[in-house]
Amino acid sequence: MNDADELTALLRRRVADVEPGEELWPVTARRARRALRRRRVRQLGGVVAAMLVVVGISVTGVERLGGARTAFGPASPVLLPAAGPNRWSPAFAAPIGGRTGHTATWTGDRMVVWGGWAPSDRGTPAFADGAALVLAQDGWLPVGGAPVAPRHGHTAVWTGTELVVWGGLTPDGTPLADGAAYDPGAGSWRRLPPAPLEGRSGHGVVWTGAGMVVWGGTGEDGAVADGAVYDPAGDTWRELPSAPLGPRSAPVAVWTGAEVLLVGGVADDPAGFPVDGAAYDPAAARWRPLPAAPGPGMAGAAAAWTGDRLLVVGGDGAVGGAPTTTNQALEYDPVTDAWDEVVPPPLGPLSRAPHVWTGTSFVVWGGGTPDHARTDGAAFDPVVGRWRPLPPAPLDGRGGATAVWAGDRMVVWGGSEVQVSGGQRADGAAFTPSPVGGGTADLTAGEQLRTLVAEVDRDDATAVVAAEGGEQVVAGGPDRPVVGVAALPAVGPWLGAIVVVDAPGGYGFDVVGGPRRDRMPRAVDVALPAGLLVPPAPRFSPDGRTLAWLEQSTEREVVLVHAGWHAGSEQLGPIRRVPLEVPREPAAPGTRPGPGPFLHLASWSQTDLAGGGAAIRLQLLADPPGRPAGAGTPYGLLMERTPQGTLAVPDPQLVPGDR
C-alpha cells in the first residue's frame, strides 16, 4: 500500500460490482412498516410529586444448582407448579423479614434476596442477610454470613458464578463504598477489594459479561459523576474515564452487548431531572454523549435493553419546575442515535415499578407515585408495539418491590406500603406471561442460538422470532393462539422464519429465509382456504430445502401446502386438495362410527434425480379414532420436482400402502 490514491482505487474496485439485490427493497419496506408501527406518539400525562430510590438490578445468568444447605425448616410450596400462561401464582411469603431497599437477583435457578431495611417508628433496622428462593426445590434457603455491614439502596449483579453486591447506605444514611461476592453454590462470601470510589447509593450498575460497571449515585456530599469497573476475574477495580455527564443519582443503566447506556436520573438542585445520557464502550474505554430524551425525566423508570433498543417506561421528572411522574414509554435506538416515543402502557403514572425483560416482552407491575401504589401491570411486546394488561395480582400495592425473570415467570417480592411507616412486605407472587405474542422459544441459551429475526406481518400484528443454528422458530400473535411452529433443519446457518397469519378469507403463511450465504430473506404469501385449520407442525425436508404443510380438511380430502428452496431460488408449490381414501373403522355393534382418522405427516425424504429433478416422498399416517397416535395406517405421496424448477404434484389417490 503506497498511497491514498491507490487505496481509494482498490476500495472502489472491490465494490464496483456490488449492487443491491432485487429483494432488498421489499424486505426493507416490510421492516420499515414494522418499525413505524412500533411508534405511536402519545401525550405525556401525570401530575404528582417525585420520588427516587433505586431498586436492585437483576442480571440473569446461568448457574448450576448448588449444594444443599440447611433450609428454613420444611420447604413449603410457594410457586410450583407454574401458574400457567397469563396468570399469577397465589401470593407466597418468605421466611425473612419484610423489607425494602433490598436487591433480588436471579442466578439461574434461584432468586437471591439480600440486604434492605425495614424502617418504622421503632427503629431503622437494616439487613446483611437474605434468602434464596430455589424454584426446583420450591423452597427457601438462608443467605447469611455476608462479610459486610447491613445496608439498603445497594446494587447487585450476577456474574454467572457470583452475586456481587456493592455500595448502599447504612441505616443512619452513611454511604458505603465496599461490597462482597456471594457464591450460591458454595454458600460462601468473599469481600471485594476497596473500590476507587467514594461511598454511594443510587448508582447505576450493569454487568457487561466481563465486569461490573458502577457509575454515578449519591455520595456523602451529593450526586457524583464518576465510576469504575470491577473485574471479578482479576479481583481488581479500574476507574472509568471522565463521562460527558453531570452528577446524578438513579440513572437508567443497561448493557447493550457493546455499550453501557446511562440516561436520565436525578441531579442535585437546581438541575433537577436531567434527560441527557452517555454511552460507555468498555472495549475502547470511551464515552459518547447521547441525545436528550423527550419528556420531563426518567428517574426511577422501568427500563430494559430489548435486543436492539433501550426501552424506558415511566419515571419521575419535572414540568415547569413541578415534580411529576409519567407513564411515558420511550425507546432509544443506538443505530439512529435517536429517541422515539412509543405507545405508553395502559397504566397511570408509575415509578419504581418492578419489571423484567423476558427475552421477548417487557413486563411491568406495580410501582406508582409517592402517594399511590399501583396494583396493575402490563406487558409490552416491542416487536408489535403493543401493551397487554396483566390480570389482577394477588398482591397489595407497594413501593420498592423487586422483580426477577426466572426463565418462565416474573417473581415479584418485598417492598413496603407507600405511606405507612413499618409496612414492609415479605410476600410475593409470580406471573407467568402468555406465550402468545411473547414467543415461547428459548432464544437466549447460548451465543449460537440468537434471535436474528423478529418479524411482524400484517396489521393484525402476528409476531415471529427465528433462531440461528437450525433450532427453533415460533410464531404467534398477541390476540390469537399460536398457530404455527416449525423446526428449522440443522443444515448450517440460516436466516429463517415462518409466520402464520390470520389473513382475510383464511390463514396464510410467510416463509422468510434461506441459507444466509445464498440470498437475502424473502417472503412468500400463501392464502389458504377459509375455514381450514392451519396445522401446528410444518416440516422441512431433511436437506432443509423444502417445506411442507399438511392438513386434513375433510375425512376424504387432504390439503397439502408446500414450498421450498433449491439452489438459492425460491419455489412455491400450489395448494392442493388431494382425494384420500381412508377406510372407516367399522363401528362396533351398538355404537356410532367415530370421526374420521387424524392424518399427519410422519416422514419426509427427498432424492435428487438425474437431470435436475427431485423425487419427494411424504409418508403420511392415518390414526384411526380410538387408537394411539402413530399406530395407524401408512400412506405415501409422491411429488416430483421438474428440471424446470417447479414443483408439480400429480393427483395421486392416497390409499393405504401407496408407495
Partner: protein, 185 residues
C-alpha cells in the same frame, strides 16, 4: 421512484403497497441503496450481510424520516449504516470465528481469476484493521469524505478520525509490505 422498483413494491402484496404510499422514501432508497450496500460491504467484507444491515438501517431511518427528523438522508443513512455494522459486531465476530474454521484444505478448489484475487486481498487488508480504523479508512478513502464528515458519521471528534486514519494507514502499509515479502519468496 422508478417503474421497476414500483413494480417490485406492488408485487410484494399489501405490505409492499402500504410502504409504497411513502414513495418519497422509496426514492431515498433508490438513491442511496447502492452506496449504502457498498459501504456496508467494505465495513463487513460480506455483501450478503451488508444487505441485511442496510435493510435494517433503512428501516430505522424511515421512522425518523417520516417524522421530518432527517434533513440529509444520505448523511443520516451513512451514520445509521456505520452504527448498524458496529452493533452487529458481536454477531459478526462469531461468524468470523466460524468462517475461520472452514479455511484451509476443507475449502476445496477455488477460482483464481485476478478479480477474485484482488477482492480477497482487499478484504484481507481491511481485516487487519480495528473496526473503528476500518470505518474511518473506508469513509475517508472510499467515500472520499472530508474528515469532519467522517467524524459526523462515526459520532466522534475530528481528532479521533485523524488518529484512526493515521494508525490504520500505518497498519495497512505493514500488512502490504508483508505481502510483498511473501511474494518474493
Amino acid at each position: 421512484m422508478d417503474a421497476a422498483l414500483r413494480g417490485v413494491v406492488e408485487a410484494t402484496g399489501p405490505r409492499g403497497r402500504a410502504a409504497a404510499r411513502d414513495a418519497d422514501f422509496a426514492d431515498v432508497f433508490a438513491t442511496h441503496a447502492r452506496d449504502a450496500v457498498r459501504l456496508a460491504t467494505l465495513l463487513t467484507g460480506d455483501p450478503h450481510r451488508a444487505e441485511d444491515l442496510v435493510s435494517e438501517a433503512f428501516a430505522r431511518v424511515y421512522v425518523r424520516w417520516r417524522r421530518g427528523g432527517v434533513m440529509d438522508p444520505g448523511a443520516y443513512l451513512r451514520r445509521a449504516v456505520v452504527n448498524q455494522v458496529r452493533y452487529s459486531a458481536r454477531r459478526r465476530f462469531l461468524e468470523r470465528r466460524e468462517a475461520s474454521r472452514r479455511h484451509g484444505d476443507q475449502r476445496g478448489p477455488r477460482a483464481h481469476d485476478d478479480d477474485i484475487a484482488e477482492r480477497d486481498e482487499v478484504d484481507r487488508l481491511l481485516a487487519v484493521l480495528s473496526e473503528r480504523q476500518r470505518t474511518a479508512i473506508v469513509l475517508r478513502y472510499w467515500e472520499d469524505l472530508p474528515e469532519a464528515a467522517v467524524a459526523a458519521a462515526m459520532g466522534c471528534p475530528v481528532g479521533t478520525v485523524k488518529s484512526l486514519v493515521s494508525r490504520g494507514m500505518a497498519r495497512l502499509r505493514v500488512a502490504g509490505a508483508g505481502d510483498v515479502r511473501e511474494g518474493a519468496r
